[in-house]
């Protein structure tokens, strides 16, 4: 892949964090660079860095100014950030079961109407997609996915809902999402998954990582109930595909 982005901007986020910004927009190359820098900093830790938080287009680097100053940190990070992207390594892939429509996906029919097609067609396009976890944020386990089929891009709801269910599978703008906990949302709800991307007493507590690949498959509502019970008991219920 040709590198087309300029070097990242180092934006101060207070005295103990710096935003390494690769792009102002959602951009796949920027996200790849964010994840590559995140990986490089994990592989060769820099003394003073306490935590990194990847997002679509930037890596937020938390650090201890008692150990390293802003200028020294920037001089250390920048050469790593502008390295050519490493060859694409095999990503972990999750197959996530989804009960589409009905009570679990209350916006499916409206989305189909708005896009001039049938609910089955929406399900086929959504489940047929090949997604990447671009970032996790907002609430624990909320996985923002890039790779939504262009024909499913539509603006968010005029009025966000104050509460949407745990496990909601939704689309908003050019993004798709896996929501773990019940939360407010302005996205369109297509279905629900029994998979918990965050479960406190399970190992691992967090299922998805930025950079993971995701595909969906449809299950019926009876299967949802069965898998939901298993998931509640601590089973992962998503299928991991090792490439």
């Amino acid at each position: 892949m040709a590198a087309t982005l300029p070097p990242p901007r180092l934006l101060p986020s207070g005295d103990s964090a710096v935003t390494v910004e690769f792009s102002r927009t959602i951009d796949d190359e920027a996200n790849q660079r964010v994840l590559a820098l995140d990986k490089a900093l994990a592989a060769s830790p820099i003394d003073g860095i306490t935590e990194t938080v990847p997002t679509y287009r930037s890596l937020l680097v938390h650090y201890d100014p008692g150990k390293i100053g802003f200028d020294a940190l920037g001089q250390t990070i920048l050469p790593i950030a502008i390295r050519p992207l490493p060859p694409v390594t095999k990503a972990r892939r999750w197959r996530i079961p989804v009960a589409y429509g009905g009570e679990h996906g209350i916006d499916l029919e409206d989305v189909a109407k708005a896009l001039g097609t049938t609910p089955d067609d929406i399900v086929a396009r959504h489940a047929g997609g090949d997604y990447k976890v671009a970032m996790i944020g907002f609430t624990p386990g909320w996985s923002y996915l890039s790779g939504l089929d262009k024909s499913l891009h539509m603006s968010r709801r005029q009025s966000p809902r104050l509460l949407t269910p745990a496990g909601t599978i939704s689309i908003g703008g050019i993004q798709a999402g896996i929501q773990c906990l019940a939360a407010p949302s302005g996205w369109h709800l297509l279905g629900r998954t029994p998979v918990r991307t965050y479960q406190l007493h399970r190992n691992p507590t967090f299922l998805t990582e930025p950079g993971d690949r995701v595909t969906f498959f449809a299950i019926d509502h009876k299967m949802f109930e069965e898998m939901d019970r298993a998931a509640e008991a601590g089973e992962i219920v998503a299928e991991q595909v090792v490439a």
Binding site: D15, E51, V53, M135, G137, G141, Y144
Partner: protein
């Protein structure tokens, strides 16, 4: 083992510590004490690690009763009247409650949060190294929610050590210091100046997630939507209505509004302790100054044990101590609806 019973408590009171670090990449909020220096001072008084779990008490009153033995505690933070069986207890001192005795705390006389540390610290089941309550994610131990009357802690029996007071560094006063950025380029010079030169008040709808600021509307150059990126404690984001929000300890880990500035580490506790309705200003400082202040702040916390004194000498100093606590915190009444922990981001 003794027990400490929460006999009465107001809203916005919860177990907090140094916070839950290392999982912001999974969307897990850091949480932790709103005023870390006061948490550390209370803990130091009873011999705990500075960021051990303690009770963060909101602006209303609270009372705690020792059972099954004596319990040694200490209070620091927003000043308030405190007594045990009618005997006053000074801020920034330790006190031992005999079995059956109750420590009663009044309303905060300024600021919002007072910390009650317990000798041996609050015990519970840590998640990502922390007992801090994050009600939205169902986290926190021993209670994953704000405290209620009737809650109780299993605690160490009091050591019988003589009581201590702590001489805290002179409180800083003046404007809340910020570093501009990370998205100050989303605002023109006039609006940056408007932000820095105006008087602000903290809205009554603020909580541990964010302090809403009342003042002039700040206009964006290119609209209020940016692609979500990471947030820090003290990020000041400007949503579409132009009313800035300072993100506090229960902030979302990412956000999609431009962030005009960031409160420096050394001043986040001061902002947290600014009462709703009190006028204050911001002041921009350089990175060098902000980082120097952050290092001094960390050093102040490390050196707290050197500031312990025998409580026997407190009689002479109690007035000065009380004044020192009040200075820097303008006193104002707090609206009763202010400090509810809200369920919306």
């Amino acid at each position: 083992m003794s027990r400490l019973i929460v006999a009465s408590i107001g809203p916005a009171s919860s177990v907090q510590d140094g916070g839950r670090h290392g999982a912001q990449r999974y969307g897990l909020t850091v949480s932790g004490a709103m005023d870390r220096l006061s948490l550390a001072a209370a803990n130091t008084l009873v011999g705990n690690e500075p960021f051990a779990a303690a009770v963060e008490i909101g602006p209303f009153g609270a009372s705690f009763t020792a059972r099954d033995g004596a319990v040694r505690v200490a209070i620091s933070g927003a000043p308030r009247n405190a007594d045990v069986a009618g005997n006053p207890v000074a801020m920034d001192t330790s006190v031992t409650l005999k079995d059956g005795e109750t420590l009663t705390l009044g309303f905060a006389r300024g600021g919002a949060f007072t910390y009650l540390a317990i000798q041996g610290a609050i015990k519970g089941e840590p998640v990502f190294g922390s007992l801090a309550v994050n009600a939205r994610a169902g986290l926190g131990s021993p209670y994953p929610r704000p405290l209620q009357a009737g809650d109780e802690f299993n605690v160490d029996a009091a050591s019988g050590a003589s009581e201590l007071r702590i001489e805290l560094p002179k409180p800083v006063s003046g404007p809340i210091r910020v570093l501009l950025g990370p998205q100050d380029d989303e605002f023109d010079e006039a609006n940056k100046a408007l932000f820095l030169n105006s008087e602000w008040k903290i809205s009554a709808t603020s909580d541990r997630m964010g302090y809403r600021l009342e003042g002039p509307a700040i206009k964006h150059l290119h609209g209020h939507n940016i692609v979500s990126d990471g947030t820090v404690n003290g990020s000041i984001q400007v949503p579409g209505n132009g009313a800035p929000i300072a993100l506090m300890m229960d902030r979302g880990t990412s956000g999609g509004y431009p962030k005009i500035a960031t409160v420096i580490t050394a001043d986040i506790g001061r902002l947290a302790q600014t009462s709703a309705g009190t006028a204050f200003r911001f002041k921009a400082v350089s990175m060098a100054e902000a980082q120097d202040e952050a290092r001094k702040f960390a050093q102040a916390i490390r050196s707290l044990p050197d500031r312990l004194r025998s409580a026997d000498t407190v009689a002479l100093n109690i007035e000065a101590l009380s004044d020192a606590n009040v200075a820097g915190y303008a006193v104002s009444a707090v609206d009763a609806g202010t400090w509810q922990v809200t369920a919306e981001p």
